[in-house]
């Protein structure tokens, strides 16, 4: 195996052409995923999580394009590859994808086995039996009865379809799976069941995963590292415990505190005003500035670099001009209370 990291995202900027002009959905994203690592990507709706994920597998919408930056899979640059090359080199064999809204991703007119065979056919030399055997195996791993691989998607419940899609993503043993909101719209128990299998997969294979979700609890429970995105920018990235214990960006700080915790139903929940902005043209400011209680003029004048702060642990980086002032010098909770108090 090469010494290159599994997946590197380097200063990636992605734009969509829209009627109003180019919309920068991801700007300067930068992170690395290592072998066997589970990497979480969290943020509110519209932050650019899916855009980022799609770009890795070369699946941006027609009006989207990588404006700058690099995407490297084991050192090989993917950002300029065409569909055919991607198919040949990475898709499914190396990088598999579980799309958002994956319930609707299964072709309703194809049996699951047919879909699996088709994929196997394109990417491998496996015989029909071998491919099906692998698929059956994966079916079982995700907790589906293997005798149902010849069913049509509509014969499955939502949760089962979700698992089938996971099985499809995994059965060719890719090195990394990008799972975009694999459990939204599922009940907690169902979600827990699915994560149970994802845990098992991590324990039993070398597969890495990029787990995209808006639910930070899931990332905290299942991932090793994470990146918090806001308005197309990565606000903070690092090992989960570091980010949890020692947040370095106001957004991730507030986001964590906005999550209800069943253990403390009386805890006051944090709220974040507004919604992530949509940015047309270059992003030359901190996209969180307008929602940030600590923001200053300077935050709106340039985009903060994503870098480690003085006290942060290895690989823990944040993109905030004021991170030192907010998180090193004072207690963020107190200063926040002070600011909120001033405002009202």
């Amino acid at each position: 195996m090469s010494s290159e990291p599994l997946l590197e995202v380097e200063n990636l900027t992605i734009e969509y052409d829209t009627r109003q002009g180019p919309l920068t959905a991801v700007s300067n994203a930068d992170f690395t995923v290592e072998d066997g690592e589970y990497f979480g990507l969290v943020g509110e709706s519209g932050c650019g999580k899916s855009t980022l994920a799609k770009s890795i597998i070369g699946g941006l919408d027609d009006n989207g394009r990588i404006a700058s930056g690099k995407l490297k899979y084991r050192g090989e640059e993917l950002q300029d590859l065409g569909d055919a090359e991607l198919n040949e080199k990475v898709r499914w064999k190396e990088i598999a994808y579980i799309p958002q809204a994956s319930m609707n991703s299964l072709d309703p007119m194809q049996r699951l086995s047919e879909q699996a065979l088709e994929i196997a056919n394109v990417h491998t030399d496996l015989s029909e039996e071998e491919a099906l055997a692998q698929f059956e195996e994966m079916f079982e791993v995700v907790g589906l009865p293997e005798n149902r691989i010849r069913d049509y998607p509509h014969q499955f419940s939502g949760g089962m379809q979700q698992r089938a899609i996971i099985a499809l993503a995994l059965f060719l043993q890719p090195s990394i799976v990008i799972a975009d909101e694999p459990t939204t719209a599922l009940d907690v128990i169902m979600q827990d069941q699915i994560f149970k299998y994802l845990d098992e997969i991590r324990d039993s294979t070398e597969t890495s995963m990029i787990l995209i979700t808006h639910d930070i609890s899931l990332v905290f429970e299942s991932c090793d590292e994470l990146a918090v995105m806001h308005g197309g920018q990565i606000a903070e990235t690092g090992p989960i415990t570091d980010v949890y214990d020692d947040p370095k960006h106001p957004y991730s700080y507030l986001l964590q505190r906005a999550f209800p915790d069943i253990r403390f139903p009386d805890r006051e929940l944090e709220t974040i005003e507004g919604t992530p902005p949509q940015q047309f043209g270059d992003v030359d400011y901190c996209t969180f500035a307008n929602r940030c209680p600590w923001a200053e003029e300077g935050c709106r004048e340039a985009a903060p670099p994503l870098e480690a702060s003085d006290t942060s642990a290895d690989g823990h980086r944040a993109a905030c001009f004021r991170t030192n002032e907010i998180f090193e010098q004072e207690d963020p909770a107190e200063s926040l209370a002070a600011i909120r108090g001033d405002q009202s």
Binding site: Y16, Q20, S45, G46, S50, A101, T275, Q278
Partner: protein, 312 residues
């Protein structure tokens, strides 16, 4: 998905105060039509037609049924275009241009009245069936099935014998047949809408059925109704021309269909193309313009299912 639900500021400035639903949507519809060059052309063309429909009969060079005689006394039959008759004359010595301009009004009336009846019946049936459901729905939909299973033109002939064959009869008859497509699609549209929570919310606040239909269902099917109306306008004109062609429409009102019929019956298609081609081309252009505008409205209404093809 996400991106068409988010753009709160993107849509532009805050909409001014107190804009009624109608104005709001008319202006939006207009913008949508104006955006695309072809539909802009269609819009301009139709506007011009409308103007001609109002003033055209006043400004025709001659009376549409005046017969012209040569100095020697014979009728000026099938004269090629000249200065006096820019589009020549018909085989009975009438001025083609005058008839063509005169025919704008009947054509426009056919389109609007026909389109209105089509959408009127279609919407009533569709909304009733979709909203009320139950046996009302089954009955109405079976009637719709029936309307689908009769051949249009022959059935129109049958219906016409119940009315006096005439200009309006032929329009009404068209409306009585072609509503079927609208009814079907609008019904399914209504069924979708009525399942949406805001309808439930309205029920829960105690809105009456009528109120829900008027305040919530109708506005929400309005874009589709607008589309259907424009399609209906086109179909009404087309079918009316067909009826005129086989003689089930008043031949004394020189609508364009009647003009083609007259030209065809006189056998002068080859010899006097100046007579038959203009009405044919104008029919096509008019219907096409109506369709174009419909298509544009359809395109712009992202979440509306497409229906253009599901014509009558």
């Amino acid at each position: 998905m996400a991106w068409n639900t988010i753009p709160m500021n993107v849509l532009g400035k805050e909409i001014g105060r107190d804009q009624s639903y109608l104005i709001r949507n008319l202006s939006r519809g207009f913008k949508v039509i104006w955006r695309d060059p072809t539909s802009r052309f269609a819009f301009l063309y139709l506007s011009a037609l409308l103007v001609l429909a109002v003033v055209g009969q006043e400004i025709t060079p001659y009376s549409y049924d005046r017969v012209f005689y040569a100095s020697e006394g014979g009728i000026l039959r099938s004269q090629p275009p000249s200065i006096a008759h820019p589009l020549g004359t018909t085989s009975s010595g009438r001025d083609v241009l005058s008839r063509l301009v005169y025919g704008v009004q009947p054509t426009v009336i056919t389109g609007f009245v026909g389109g209105a009846i089509i959408i009127g019946i279609g919407m009533t049936v569709g909304v009733l069936a979709g909203y009320v459901g139950g046996w009302v729905e089954s009955t109405l939909m079976r009637i719709t099935d029936f309307a689908y299973s009769v051949p249009t033109i022959p059935f129109a002939i049958v219906l016409v014998s119940f009315l006096e064959v005439g200009f309006f009869a032929s329009i009404i008859v068209i409306g009585l047949i072609l509503w079927r497509g609208n009814a079907r699609v609008l019904r399914s549209q209504v069924i979708q809408i009525k399942e949406r929570p805001f309808i439930l919310a309205a029920k829960a606040t105690g809105s009456s059925r009528i109120r829900i239909i008027v305040k919530h269902i109708l506005p929400n099917i309005a874009p589709m109704a607008a589309l259907f109306f424009s399609l209906g306008v086109g179909y009404a004109i087309l079918v009316n021309a067909g009826l005129a062609f086989i003689g089930v429409s008043s031949p004394f009102i020189p609508s364009w269909g009647v003009m083609i019929r007259n030209a065809y019956q006189s056998g002068t298609m080859v010899q006097a193309p100046w007579w038959s081609l203009p009405p044919g081309i104008l029919i096509s252009l008019t219907v096409m313009s109506a369709f174009m505008i419909g298509r544009q409205l359809e395109d712009s209404d992202e979440d509306e299912r497409s229906v253009t093809g599901a014509g009558p």
